[in-house]
C-alpha cells in the first residue's frame, strides 16, 4: 500500500514545470531568494507550488531551504524560482564563490564573522 503511494508521488514533479528541467537563472543550492516586493499580494495566476514559494520568500530563503521546507525536489524548485524571477516577482541575490579576486573583500568579512562567532 505505502509503496504504491510513494511511487505515485514520485513521478509527477516536472509536470509543474511543463517538463523543463533547467532554470535560466544561476540558482545554486545556497542562492538566496526573496520576494521583490515584500508587501505584494500573491498573484492569482500562480500554481499552488509557486504560490507557496512566493509566500515563503517574503523572508529571504536559500534554494535548499525552500526545497526542504516545501518538500519540492531541488531541480523543480530551481525551475519554479526561475519562472518567478522572469515575472519579476522574486529577487535572486548574488552568491560569492571565491573564484574571483574581487570577492576577497566579502570573503574577508566572512572570515571576520567566523572569528567573532568562534573566538
Amino acid at each position: 500500500m505505502s509503496i504504491r503511494r510513494r511511487r505515485g508521488a514520485r513521478i509527477r514533479p516536472y509536470t509543474f514545470t511543463g517538463g523543463r528541467t533547467r532554470s535560466r537563472h544561476p540558482l545554486m543550492v545556497q542562492t538566496l531568494v526573496s520576494t521583490a516586493d515584500t508587501n505584494a499580494a500573491v498573484p492569482e495566476n500562480l500554481l499552488p507550488e509557486s504560490r507557496n514559494i512566493f509566500e515563503l520568500c517574503r523572508e529571504a530563503r536559500s534554494v535548499a531551504e525552500i526545497a526542504a521546507e516545501l518538500k519540492i525536489p531541488m531541480g523543480v524548485t530551481q525551475v519554479l524560482l526561475s519562472d518567478l524571477a522572469d515575472q519579476g516577482l522574486v529577487y535572486i541575490h548574488p552568491t560569492i564563490t571565491g573564484h574571483s579576486p574581487s570577492e576577497n573583500q566579502v570573503l574577508e568579512r566572512a572570515l571576520r564573522g567566523l572569528e567573532r562567532l568562534f573566538q
Binding site: 521583490a36 536559500s62 541575490h93
Partner: protein, 199 residues
C-alpha cells in the same frame, strides 16, 4: 553576480550568500560538525534523483536500484546582517557522485572530515577534490574520544595529502572546535591565488 531588479526599486535588502562543503566518509562526523556550528537545526533534505542535469531515467541501466533519494544535510550561519554562509554535507556514499557536483558547484571551499580510525573511508572524498582542483579544501581529523592514534604527518602520508594542504584536528561535537575548522578553511581559501572561472 546577477540581478534582475532595477536599481530604482528599493526592493528587498541586499544580501549575499556563500557556501562551504563538508565532505568525508560515512559516519566521519560531517553531520555532527554542521550541527555544532549551525544557527538552525541542521536540515536533512531528500535530494531527489530527478536532478536537473541528469538525463531522464538513469535507473534503466541499473534496474535493481530502487533508491532515488539521497539525504543531504545543511546548516546556516549569519556572519553579518547581509552575509549568510551555508554548510552543505555531501552524501557519504561514493555512488552518489553525481549529486556532489550540484552541491559542490560554487563553494568557496571544502572540509574533508576524517575519522582517523577509518582512514580509507575518506579516500573517495579526497580523490574528488583532488580531481576537481577548483575548490580549495582542508582535511579535518575528528578526534572522537580525545585520541588521534596517529600524528598529523603520519596521516598526511597515509592519505597522500600535498604538503600545502592544511590538516587540522578537532572535535566535531564541540562548537568552538568546529568553528575553528571553518575559520582555517576560509584563511586557506583567502591565501590561495584565484583562478577566475565560470560556475
Amino acid at each position: 553576480m546577477d540581478s534582475n531588479v532595477s536599481s530604482s526599486n528599493p526592493g528587498p535588502a541586499p544580501l549575499v550568500s556563500t557556501k562551504i562543503v563538508i565532505a568525508g566518509g560515512f559516519g566521519a562526523g560531517k553531520t555532527t560538525l554542521v550541527g555544532s556550528v549551525s544557527e538552525i537545526p541542521p536540515v536533512t533534505t531528500e535530494a531527489v534523483m530527478t536532478e536537473a542535469s541528469r538525463e531522464h531515467d538513469d535507473t534503466s541501466a541499473t534496474p535493481d536500484k530502487v533508491t532515488t533519494t539521497v539525504a543531504m544535510d545543511f546548516g546556516r550561519l549569519t556572519l553579518e546582517q547581509e552575509l549568510v554562509m551555508y554548510m552543505f554535507g555531501t552524501p557519504g556514499q561514493a555512488r552518489f557522485w553525481f549529486m556532489w557536483d550540484d552541491i559542490v558547484r560554487g563553494a568557496v571551499g571544502a572540509v574533508i572530515v576524517v575519522d582517523s580510525r577509518r582512514l580509507a573511508d575518506c579516500f573517495d572524498a579526497i580523490d574528488y577534490f583532488e580531481k576537481n582542483q577548483t575548490i580549495p579544501y582542508i582535511v579535518a581529523l575528528n578526534r572522537f574520544d580525545g585520541e588521534l592514534g596517529y600524528t598529523v604527518e603520519e596521516i598526511r602520508e597515509a592519505l597522500e595529502i600535498a604538503p600545502d594542504i592544511p590538516i587540522v584536528d578537532f572535535d566535531a561535537r564541540d562548537r568552538r572546535s568546529s568553528g575553528q575548522v571553518l575559520r582555517r578553511l576560509l584563511e586557506y581559501t583567502l591565501s590561495r591565488p584565484k583562478t577566475p572561472q565560470l560556475v
